[in-house]
């Protein structure tokens, strides 16, 4: 048996023991299959539309499994020192990476095959036929898709010495090329348009074959566009539907898509082959040096007075917060999250804040929060999830508690630091947004700016309190992430499907809420039940703040009791998360 296969076999055995891998597979099934089953209705979509609809969700959701399975493939071996164990045996570094690739691609492909088989069953149930050929042409392309992304993940994991850098690189790659986040649409396409036509406005198109030639070439540089075009053409070639154009562009496009996986893999192997695996650090890194340069002067000036001030509780919390601020900004995860936030929010805001013939300026302004939601959620998770759990994992909590601070002070100091980071970041984004408003809409709309800022900072602060509280309540970063995603899943995605129907059953005796939610004025019990969801409560507050600032739309109505109730829900929710986290941290064993 070859050594690469030996490494792969052992790795598969270990990977399937990881809860993160199983959790990601279950999450993919939970996110994909219910909506797939619900949409498999001939009166909603033709089979042609439906089979093209499936990969749209799957292309995003499957990357959760790819990331969970691949992000630490090689990097964790370096951190845990097991790379030395393997490389002490007759294996080369290339063997290690290729063994990992074989294993991780196998896991992801096997998981997706199971999910696709179930999805095919749902097609049969919905349409009365399995449509095996077009379905499995789509399925085959999706298996190639996850295989290529797995190569990207393993390549990055070999190139970087930390799983988090790998994860950050994966997210950035996805954000740049994805259809959903618009960096390609807002940055790359307009730049090429400027070069070719002299205008930043690139022409829109329905199918790639109908776009101008220069735009077809530019779009072909995006491997995800190539993948989508080739898959669509292949499905239509086996019917139902009729393909547009010949096979050659898709063959070339497929080549580009495969290169999209091969190049990061080669890059990763090359970097890994050249890396020092001894664990030595060359001293301060850029982040440390910058921080010390910026903070050094201030430390010298205030060193003497700080010694006496640190005797009070407030001063200790302040010292903790400053120390945590330094450590956090030196952390690549946080730095990466800040970059990702900019990548997510920049293009989204650029598109959202634009004079429109369809929407009034007020409608444009009141829709801006929707462009910021994802960024706030990502940033809150990034800065909060490891705040306390990270100290416990690293053992530095004992160092902190050994210098005369209480556990509650540790939580408070960290919370202040993390809120400081997220507020500073969002203030910068808000100022950028205001600049876009002035330049694109021609007026500053100060009331809308204040309403937007108030809502953004309230959302960000309360979400960070929740993520930090969860981090204090659990013992590891993975549990913290699992609980945070669980909270987000329950309140973000399952609320309408699961929780509200249960409430409706308690009130009306039937699970369906469609009869009430469809109307202009839902019953009070439903409104107040719905507003127990902190995300819904934040939407109510958003409407209320804009209404209060004089930017109400026909869709919003300032109902003071409901707004105050929503504010109470948000505060109670965040306060409860903080209290539970602090209490659990206070009572936990730190051995």
């Amino acid at each position: 048996m070859s050594r690469i296969r030996a490494i792969a076999r052992e790795d598969v055995r270990r990977a399937f023991r990881r809860r993160l891998v199983w959790g990601a597979i279950v999450l993919l099934a939970a996110m994909f299959l219910p909506s797939t089953g619900g949409s498999a209705k001939p009166d909603l979509y033709t089979i042609q539309e439906y089979i093209l609809l499936l990969p749209l969700d799957l292309m995003t959701f499957s990357l959760v499994v790819v990331a969970a399975v691949g992000y630490s493939a090689v990097a964790s071996e370096r951190i845990d020192g097991t790379a030395r164990f393997v490389l002490g045996l007759p294996a080369t570094r290339r063997d290690l990476v290729l063994g990992k690739l074989l294993s991780r691609v196998g896991i992801v492909v096997a998981s997706l095959v199971v999910i696709l088989v179930v999805a095919n069953g749902l097609v049969y149930q919905g349409y009365g036929r399995a449509f095996l050929l077009p379905f499995w042409v789509m399925g085959g392309w999706m298996l190639v898709y996850v295989g290529v992304w797995s190569a990207v993940a393993v390549g990055y994991s070999a190139a970087f010495d930390s799983p988090y850098r790998t994860l950050a690189a994966l997210v950035v790659t996805y954000v740049v090329f994805s259809f959903n986040f618009g960096v390609w649409r807002v940055v790359v396409r307009p730049l090429f348009s400027l070069l070719v036509t002299g205008s930043l406005d690139a022409p829109s198109y329905e199918t790639l074959a109908t776009a101008p030639l220069w735009l077809q070439v530019v779009e072909r540089l995006n491997p995800l566009v190539d993948f989508w075009a080739a898959m669509r053409w292949s499905i239509q070639s086996v019917g139902p539907g009729a393909p547009t154009g010949g096979a050659l562009p898709h063959v070339l496009g497929t080549g580009i898509f495969l290169l999209f996986g091969i190049l990061p893999l080669l890059f990763g192997i090359r970097r890994f082959e050249r890396a020092d695996l001894g664990g030595e650090q060359p001293g301060f890194q850029l982040g440390d040096t910058l921080w010390r340069a910026l903070w050094g002067t201030r430390e010298t000036e205030t060193a003497r007075s700080r010694v006496s001030r640190a005797r009070t509780r407030l001063a200790r919390v302040r010292e903790l917060a400053i120390a945590d601020l330094r450590h956090t900004l030196q952390d690549w995860v946080i730095t990466g999250a800040l970059v990702v936030t900019l990548l997510l929010s920049g293009p989204a805001l650029w598109s959202a804040v634009d004079a429109s013939t369809v929407f009034t300026d007020v409608e444009v302004l009141t829709r801006i929060p929707y462009s910021l939601q994802l960024s706030i959620v990502v940033l809150g998770i990034a800065v909060g999830h490891n705040a306390i759990a990270g100290e416990r994992t690293a053992g530095t909590d004992r160092l902190l508690l050994g210098v005369g601070v209480t556990r509650a002070e540790v939580v408070l100091g960290k919370l202040l630091s993390r809120i400081g980071i997220i507020v500073a970041m969002l203030l910068a984004i808000l100022l950028g947004t205001e600049l876009l408003v002035v330049t694109h809409l021609g007026q500053p709309y100060p009331g809308a700016f204040i309403a937007l800022s108030g809502w953004t900072l309230l959302f960000a602060t309360s979400w960070t309190v929740i993520t930090t509280g969860i981090s204090a309540a659990v013992a590891s970063r993975y549990r913290s992430l699992a609980v945070i995603f669980g909270v987000y899943l329950v309140f973000g995605r399952l609320w309408d499907e699961v929780v509200l129907p249960l409430v409706a059953f308690g009130v009306t005796g039937q699970f369906s809420t469609e009869a009430f939610t469809g109307g202009a004025d839902p019953p009070t019990w439903l409104q107040y039940s719905d507003n127990q969801n902190p995300f819904v409560a934040l939407e109510t507050l958003q409407d209320g703040l804009f209404e209060l600032a004089g930017y109400g739309t026909p869709h919003t109505e300032l109902v003071v009791p409901r707004v105050l109730y929503s504010l109470g829900v948000v505060l109670v929710f965040a306060g409860a998360a903080f209290a539970i986290g602090t209490r659990r941290f206070d009572r936990s064993d730190l051995g």
């Binding site: 071996e77 030395r84 080369t92 001894g278 060359p282």
Partner: protein
Amino acid sequence: MPSIKTRGLTKRFGDVVAVDNLDLRVESGEVFGFLGPNGAGKSTTINMLLDFVRPTAGEISVLGLDPQTEPRAVRERIGVLPEATGFYPQDTARDHLRFAIAMKRTDDDPDALLERVGIADAADRPVGGFSKGMRQRLGLAVALVGAPELLILDEPLGGLDPAGARLLREVVRDERDRGAAVFFSSHIMDQVETVCDRVGIMHDGRLVAADTIDVLHAEAATPATVSVSVDTVPEGVEADLTALDGVSAVTTEDGSIHVECADSATKADVVARLDAAGVAIRDLDTGAPSLEELFLAITGGSVTAEASTE
């Protein structure tokens, strides 16, 4: 052909020179102790021998091969216990050995190897629950897979209890008797001098000495000592003994005389002189300088603070 040979080997991490122009030669079939305090550059050197860390300058030959260009060929013929090596916490000791045997393509018996290092009863326990000493023993078992021509052991004594340290010394002797070369590092100097054919002493990234311990003693001119317990310290004994050739210093306390001899043979003269003077000797204690004292003598008594490179 030497088992290990380096010429001008240098490694820098930023401004820190971890290993500085190292020329080293380890012959086949010998046990070479690579000694020095923490931060001296021992682990960095071993990491370069194993191709875990790439040299800034210089040449390395392991069993006549360059580990950087022919890593697989080197690793097929050596056994390795890296410092702070990681193990898969949920795999058992037997899982690790099975994997090592598969990778080395040998037909070793995992149980026999675990028996040899004294952890056969823990063969099927997850390694995550192992003590540091048990992990060291497991690492040693992995290194022994395939009867390698060269064993490279980085701080193998770390975490071992006295019984484990004795077992390690026995394994090292057995491997040498089998014909293998053994290259191991340690900062616990007194535990290795009985097993080494030669030692090299690293200090601040430089190899400051490399030879047999006897030769190093002679070159370092570290004094031998003799302590004599007596009923009464006679008057003028200090001057009398100092007058002997080869005596470098004499001190007396209540009921005892301590003599440092530049030449070990002078110790007998000291005893003879005291006996001739009618001194009633109750007890006698003679000692050669320890390896640690030897190290302090060679490095001028300075042991640097731990550097970040180890």
